[in-house]
């Protein structure tokens, strides 16, 4: 019989708070973490169509982790380290007591070490001095630098993987961690999503894709507005989320506090288009159906959906179409919220951060508001969406995450058996 898997620790770095307690307090009052970009200084913002983002302000890695580790990696991996540290402490796991070969690390990251990446590439092309490329350039930009440094800091010698599927990266990290423990290859997996690429080149790239909101540059807090009629694109965010996953047996043995069970997962491809989802929502519905079946629950049992909901015109409409397709008459009974309305789209971190919001909904019975859902767009209105926090006894929560490359993921969490 396959192992059941539970979530026993949480950690987060987000534009509305570093630390789960601060994040959740801010989320429940609908606080916006979106602000005007200043981090490109002295690079001018004039040429950018979009000028706002969900930035983590005043982050100094040395305040949280030993600088010998923190300074060796790029910003996204620093976020990952900080979120992992909080989650491990929260879980009560003491690495000295663990079989280190049974503790894995799985990280989802979409972009990786772009801060140093952009700087070094720019300097090389401007100065044409290949011998001035920083010796840490390759280890820092390599996408598994976060999973590597976390393992080194904590001595975790189990499976060490990085999943990169753009915006669904860390939903897949959660799913792969679930499989890893289910299959008996690890007792504990430190599961992380992290990205920090609000950088001149990456941001310009998303602008050029016409994917970002540009109508609310003067009112940043209004810019991320999933499902609202005035939405005009997503807002880039940055951050990291960590969930400690472990087998029920392992959690019981050490009498751990359990937030929720992670019970189901599905991964599919639409095999359709690099950046555009299928308009009929067929594949998204199929993905959610597979994840629910994997968890052994029916669509009618779902109480809460943490929607992918990036605030793009097409994406939000497709997700609601898929929800209506699968849940039919019960679609309007499900509480729904869009975490990206508060912090923007944290790309590779989005699945993990949405996972944290889902787990907290199960654990606390509170669902954070969807900010700026002022004028419901008829093509994607759902009764369970609200600008206010909702209270509900959530037993089953569904997390959606979709990524460029025609990639879909869905994860199911259940209330932990008491």
């Amino acid at each position: 019989m396959r192992s059941r898997v539970v979530v026993t620790g949480l950690g987060i770095v987000s534009p509305i708070g570093i630390g789960v307690s601060d994040f959740w307090k801010a989320a429940l009052v609908g606080q916006s973490g979106i602000s005007a970009i200043t981090s490109f200084d002295p690079f001018p913002m004039d040429g950018y169509r979009s000028k706002v983002a969900g930035q983590v302000r005043d982050f100094a890695v040395e305040r949280f982790v030993d600088s010998a580790h923190g300074e060796r990696v790029d910003r996204y991996a620093q976020f990952a380290l900080v979120a992992a540290k909080e989650a491990l402490a929260d879980s009560g796991i003491q690495m000295a007591k663990e079989n280190l070969h049974r503790v894995g690390v799985i990280v989802g990251a979409g972009m990786g070490g772009m801060v140093m990446g952009e700087r070094e590439i720019t300097q090389l092309y401007q100065q044409q001095k290949p011998y001035r490329v920083h010796p840490n350039f390759i280890p820092v930009i390599t996408l598994n630098s976060a999973s590597g440094i976390i393992a080194m800091v904590y001595g975790a010698k189990g499976p060490n993987l990085t999943i990169s599927t753009a915006c669904s990266s860390s939903a897949h990290a959660l799913g792969q961690a679930l499989h890893c423990i289910r299959e008996g290859r690890a007792d504990v997996v430190i599961t992380v999503g992290a990205d920090a690429s609000i950088t001149p080149l990456v941001f310009a790239g998303f602008c050029s894709l016409r994917a970002l909101s540009s109508k609310f540059n003067d009112h940043p807090e209004k810019a991320s507005r999933p499902f609202d009629r005035l939405r005009d694109g997503f807002i880039m965010g940055e951050g990291a989320g960590t969930l400690i996953l472990e087998s029920v047996a392992h959690a019981k043995k050490r009498k751990a506090r359990v937030y929720a069970e992670i019970a189901g997962y599905a991964a599919t491809s639409e095999a359709y288009h690099m950046v555009i989802p299928r308009e009929d929502g067929l594949e998204v519905a199929h993905t959610m159906r597979l994840a629910l079946a994997d968890a052994g629950v029916t669509p009618a049992q779902v109480d809460y959906i943490n929607a992918h909901a990036t605030s793009t015109t097409i994406g939000d409409a497709v997700e609601v179409r898929a929800i209506r397709r699968l849940f039919k008459s019960s679609a309007d009974k499900i509480a729904i919220s869009a975490t990206k309305s508060l912090i923007g789209h944290t790309l590779g971190a989005a699945g993990a951060i949405g996972g944290i919001a889902s787990v907290l909904a199960l654990h606390t019975g509170q669902i954070h508001p969807t900010a700026n859902y002022d004028d419901p767009d008829p093509v994607c209105a759902l009764a369970g969406l609200s600008r206010s926090a909702q209270e509900r006894r959530v037993k089953v929560a569904l997390l959606n995450a979709f990524g460029f490359g025609s990639n879909n993921a869905a994860v199911v969490f259940k209330r932990a058996a008491s």
Binding site: S67, Y131, R132, H134, P135, N136
Partner: protein, 104 residues
């Protein structure tokens, strides 16, 4: 060779900054790995900073001779004296001995 105190100080300052310790506690006799705890990657990072500070390029062949702080100081002095030092790759240099006084 006369030791230029400025170069020694600059190198020890760079090391102190890297190691987050007082440069005055760093001695020229100290071994980069055994005494100062630099691993091979850290040595490469340090030399990268020294290359920048002194506008030098240190060929791979010379790394082997740079085992302690004094070797690095002597090596930089020698390179700065040789204003017409060959560019890397043009003329492969022989590895320096640990004393670091061999011509390249």
């Amino acid at each position: 060779m006369a030791t230029d105190p400025t170069i020694s100080l600059r190198i020890r300052t760079a090391l102190g900054k890297y190691l987050k310790r007082d440069p005055a506690t760093i001695l020229t006799t100290q071994h980069l790995r055994d005494d100062l705890g630099l691993d091979s990657m850290a040595v490469i990072e340090l030399l990268y900073r020294i290359e920048e500070a002194f506008d030098l390029q240190i060929p791979d062949q010379d790394l082997v001779g740079l085992a302690n702080v004094g070797h690095v100081v002597n090596y930089v002095e020698m390179r700065l004296e040789k204003t017409a030092s060959p560019a890397p790759n043009k003329k492969p240099a022989k590895p320096s001995k640990p004393k670091g006084k061999k011509k390249i």
